[in-house]
Symmetry: C2
Subunit: 442 residues, 2 copies
């Protein structure tokens, strides 16, 4: 099996780009992400992809959804298919306040702005707050899509250490003090408190309170990204950071993991003055978020048992999480550690010393297993000893098979490593210390 190559046509056309000298500075150095190239490979049926973050939506009640949407079109079609408000449809914003109440947030629909997925929420927040050279704080590691957006606005991302309870408040305080001394403008902290992407760890309540306390001390805005919060495998959800501090937290939510990513409906809950700027930015970016999708999501929320569906999603993902933890325990070589997520989609691996997940990836794909190398989740080149594996999309037996293949690849890498030692490249590119949570193998 061979890797995908850029087509001759694509290469030629890039060389011949008439406008090569004309692009904005913000585009310099933007290239296709590792995740994007992987999606192409992951589509091949022979590969077990532990790479993607696609939710498994095959169990949605499609017949019921189809009937209810058809009825909605008959009744409200001319409004659902027309231009709408730049802020989003009032009925949907009302429903969103009810969704947020499940995680302890009490908010008014006037403070909600609908976005094209929460990715666009991130884009608009960065757009209204960040000038080139501003600093954004993010967990180490952090969501690859957020890092790409921060980079596209020419900000500098400074990573803050995590442990098995997520972002460390003391590390946050140290980073803020250091940046203040250096005279840097810090615009916000970006954090995923629940089942973090990629690390799979969750901030307990006390940890959230400590982080918010540090943020208030330093006048720091917190951007809380919570796509997975309702997909918890045990007990009640932990209160959102926004429920603990309404003034200093911008909250990002999404229907991509609880209903359908193809609708591209997410939202930002923000203090009133920030919300006004977000709506102006939304109008400039799209005039209005997709009205038809918004009516479709509202219809689903009001005509289907969406909370019952979330419970069945939880059960399905918990079984897959268990399959992955069992597969890792059975097949990983000694010296490999990983996190034990209590919800969401992802497990974060720390490989034995000397291995490089990026260099190893082509050999893994040849062995028909795909993952995302850890370096994708750092803005600063770290992460070579880490791997993100996801259990959201493949069924349990494929997850187990993926773990078996990954184990084989790692064993072979270690054999090579022990036989030939570190080669020159590995010695320079593998950082001496790992970063991010390293929960024990058990």
């Amino acid at each position: 099996m061979s890797l995908p190559e850029q087509s001759p046509r694509a290469r030629q056309d890039t060389r011949l780009d008439t406008w090569a000298g004309r692009y904005a500075a913000r585009t310099h150095g933007t290239t296709a992400s590792a995740v994007r190239s992987l999606f192409e490979v992951a589509n091949r049926p022979e590969v077990v992809s532990l790479a993607g973050g696609m939710p498994n939506i095959a169990d949605l009640p499609l017949d019921v959804i189809a009937d209810n949407l058809a009825a909605m079109i008959g009744k409200e079609g001319p409004r659902a298919m027309q231009y709408g408000s730049g802020q989003g449809e009032p009925a949907l914003r009302e429903a969103i306040t009810e969704v947020m109440r499940l995680e302890g947030i009490h908010a008014h629909r006037d403070d909600v702005t609908v976005t094209v997925g929460s990715q666009q929420g991130l884009d608009l927040i960065t757009r209204i707050f960040c000038d080139p050279g501003d600093v954004v704080l993010a967990e180490a590691p952090s969501y690859v899509g957020a890092l790409g957006t921060f980079r596209s606005y020419q900000t500098d991302v400074v990573h803050v250490a995590m442990d098995e309870h997520g972002l460390q408040p003391e590390a946050l305080r140290e980073a803020l003090v250091g940046l203040q001394v250096a005279g840097r403008r810090v615009k916000f902290l970006y954090t995923i408190p629940n089942f973090q992407n990629p690390a799979g760890v969750t901030q307990p309540l006390e940890r959230r309170e400590e982080i918010l306390e540090v943020a208030r001390e330093h006048g720091l805005m917190v951007v809380e990204d919570n796509p997975y919060g309702l997909l918890s495998f045990s007990g009640e959800p932990i209160p959102a950071m926004r429920s603990l501090d309404a003034d200093n937290v911008l909250y990002l939510g999404s229907f991509s993991k609880t209903f359908s990513p193809g609708m591209r409906v997410g939202w930002v809950l923000a203090p009133h003055a920030v919300r006004e700027k977000l709506v102006l930015a939304q109008e400039s970016a799209t005039l209005c978020p997709p009205t038809f999708s918004q009516f479709a999501v509202t219809t689903y929320l009001t005509t289907c048992d969406w909370q019952g569906q979330v419970v069945s999603f939880r059960d399905m993902y918990r079984i897959r999480r268990d399959a992955m933890l069992e597969g890792l325990a059975e097949f990983m070589p000694a010296g490999t550690t990983w996190t034990r997520p209590d919800g969401g989609f992802f497990v974060w691996l720390t490989l034995p010393e000397g291995l490089d997940s990026q260099a190893m990836l082509p050999r893994a794909i040849t062995s028909r297993v795909a993952y995302v190398p850890g370096s994708a989740f750092f803005a600063d080149g770290f992460g070579a000893r880490h791997v993100r594996v996801s259990y959201c999309y493949p069924p349990p037996d494929r997850i187990r098979e993926g773990c078996r293949r990954l184990g084989e690849v790692l064993h072979r890498e270690l054999d090579l490593h022990h036989t030939f030692g570190l080669d020159a490249r590995d010695a320079t590119t593998t950082p001496p210390l790992t970063r991010g949570p390293r929960a024990n193998q058990s």
Copy 2:
């Protein structure tokens, strides 16, 4: 009847904005557009709104659309509701190449990028090409939403004069020479060749060729925005600029006027290297454009007689255009001139000397007629003697009534003007010369 005011809560919250000192430079000076405030007023049933640009989609075959979408969900739901390609769905891009063929464009689907309406196409093009201080050339007057996007990227818009055949090639050449002498970086020309928004004029074929010739001479990229091209009231469409020059034209298309704006599906056709940058920008902005909308549009295009529907849209809008031209001829005071659009949605009025359309607007709304003041369509404060009126949304009898009310307002303004003369404010704010096409009253 009184005008809408900002609520006390909104005013207070804005004053108390905790983050007031933190916003990016690009947000400075962005405020709600005149068009946006007008939409609120226009929703009141007693007002005849000649302000908005909403298409009249009431005649779409909703029952058929509902059935066909329900069938699509049953068959392709898991793909339609999943994440998709950042470039857009291949089947839709293929269909888009067929739509463009109607205006003489031969293109490959690989060079099409789907966007959240063509507004997002504009946003992404500006994002990848424009640094702060770069110059964008645009017609005088030009589309208010484009001007807002150009401003949000901190570009300087330089307007180029039009006549009844649209943008003047000689004026374009002069602008380019002047900007070159001044050492300015010009990134592209933004133009709407068909039934221009707001002026309602169309570039004949020879004019398009002349403009493209000037552009090639000066290494200028042309961004051709064509939302109304298929809504022509007479004869065959004029070949798109993109059909005359595939290397130097980025083409923006949309389904908002031929099908449904609520889908938010537009596209950019661009040379390969530019397309690669657009897709990266799209992924950073939204991950992918709405998959569900794309499947819905594809379903409509492949299961309904969409071209027959466009023909019936044309007939409906032609009748409304005629109602407006008759109403203007009957009710406008002497000295008022206007354009005679051959398609699209808009007529551009030039008022008698001394009148100020922005100052007059509150009095017009009190008289239960709304329009967009000409100054909204200029980046440089001009346009006070102009008005955009649209005939797309109200039925013919309301259009006539709107013209009658507008005529009354203008007659009253002229009476005041003749009685009291120019007051000090009018003398300073009304430019001595009008700008934009002034086709004769007839």
